[in-house]
């Protein structure tokens, strides 16, 4: 479980997170949704400690994460996996070396064991026979999968995904979403996913947090989202023409 209590974050004069409090539960896919520029990435990076917050508390189970020093943070970070908006694979390493990187860094396994683990993770995300290719030789969807494989290589307790399906076609996007959801349940991870894609919201959202201009406006499940009173959320949810039609026909 991850608890965020009253965090604030500004860049120069611009306030990006305004008193954000939210709880993310284990074994669930938690979604943070919001428009572009609403502060989703900043929130996620603040939670994992890539941004220093101005005030507030971030708890991982019963550890106050944002007050730890680098060494103690490291212990918790070993339990984190993160998928970045642009995949962020290491350009100079092959697919296999990318997934093996955390294993090399933090385990004392033999080479055979490491290769076995790498292949297991790559299999799990349906990436086959590309071990020797470099990231520049992969498609966007494959990069995302490899990045997921790397994120789960050390069996993390926490998985963070920043827009896992941006830039992918709708079918691949759904496959990636489902993969994240399955992995979350399989390993009872606490997963937080940033997205502005309503498809993924309806597909995998168990707990949904809507953020607008740095303020959390609404929390709930995907069943509740269609019937909220929150004006800004409704604009967001029904921005899509099809959804609008659906609602107006429902209202008739």
């Amino acid at each position: 479980m991850i608890r965020v209590i009253n965090i604030n974050k500004s860049f120069d004069d611009q306030k990006v997170l305004d008193n954000v409090s939210v709880t993310f539960e284990p074994g669930k896919t938690n979604l943070i949704i919001g428009r572009s520029g609403s502060g989703k990435t900043v929130l996620l990076k603040s939670i994992v400690g890539l941004h220093d917050i101005d005030s507030g508390e971030i708890w991982f189970e019963d550890v106050l994460f944002n007050k730890l020093d680098f060494k103690d943070k490291k212990e918790i970070r070993k339990q984190m996996g993160m998928l970045f908006q642009g995949s962020a694979l290491f350009d100079s390493l092959t697919v296999e070396q990318n997934v093996m990187f955390p294993l090399n860094m933090f385990t004392v396994k033999s080479t055979e064991e490491k290769i076995e683990r790498v292949n297991f993770c790559l299999n799990r995300v349906d990436i086959l026979n590309v071990n020797e290719l470099f990231p520049s030789e992969l498609s966007g969807g494959m990069k995302k999968r490899v990045a997921i494989a790397r994120a789960i290589a050390l069996n993390p307790k926490y998985l963070f995904c920043d827009e896992p399906n941006s830039g992918l076609d709708p079918i691949t996007a759904i496959l990636i979403d489902e993969l994240i959801k399955e992995l979350t349940e399989e390993y009872s991870m606490t997963t937080i996913v940033n997205t502005h894609d309503m498809n993924s919201v309806m597909e995998i959202g168990e707990k949904i947090v809507f953020i607008n201009e740095g303020i959390i406006c609404w929390e709930g499940s995907k069943n509740e989202i269609l019937h909220s009173d929150c004006e800004i959320l409704n604009d967001f949810v029904f921005a899509n023409a099809l959804a609008k039609q659906l609602r107006s026909s429902e209202n008739k």
């Binding site: 212990e75 970070r77 984190m80 970045f84 962020a88 350009d91 990187f101 860094m105």
Partner: protein, 248 residues
Amino acid sequence: MILRFLSQLGRYFMLLKKVFSKPEKSSVYYKQTMHELVYLGLNSIGIVAVVSFFMGAVITLQTAYNTENPIYPTYLIGLGTRDSILLEFSSTIVALILAGKVGSNIASEIGTMRVTEQIDVLEIMGVNSASYLILPKMIATLVFNPFLTLISISVGIVGGWLAGTFSGVITSEDFIYGIQYAFIPYYIVYAMIKTVFFAFIITSVSAFHGYYVNGGSLEVGQASTKAVVHSSVLILLFNVILTQLLLS
């Protein structure tokens, strides 16, 4: 302006502190250092050799044409070539060339990793990204650049000898006599000390500019230009300081 300079300087030393903290896993660092030795060191031999060869040749010819005088013994051309190469060219000029090649390379590599969030990936895994990315490069250049300087000295002198003898400004015997005449071994030590200093400047300044890139590929380009300009200026500045300290 001064405030900005001071805050940059502060960040530079903070980064150095991060770089020189205890490595996570020495085997990974060792492998990385070997890779950088090849990538930043061995791959620079070619350009250093070419530059040094022509430098040596030009120095010999210049010295010859500027000292055309019957009472001036020609072996002094060899001596002049040797000392110019040892004292200035093989350390300072080669450092400037390497600032262009290695410096821009380091800044753009690390800068690209910053803007594509690869550095964030390292951080999130719990890896000290500054140390992991910069320390191996630092060790590789500090260890290997003295060899590059030695190569440069040797190739430079050969270049001078060839240019001198082929153009007929000096005989082979005179040149060889000249380069051995009144030889001060300390000059080699001096060149090595300068080289190590310059290697540190090139690597740390370039890594600094790369590590703190903010933005996209445009900024990476700017960072790598800044890396070259700043390390070149610092090399010239420290050249004056070190010369004063070491030779006075």
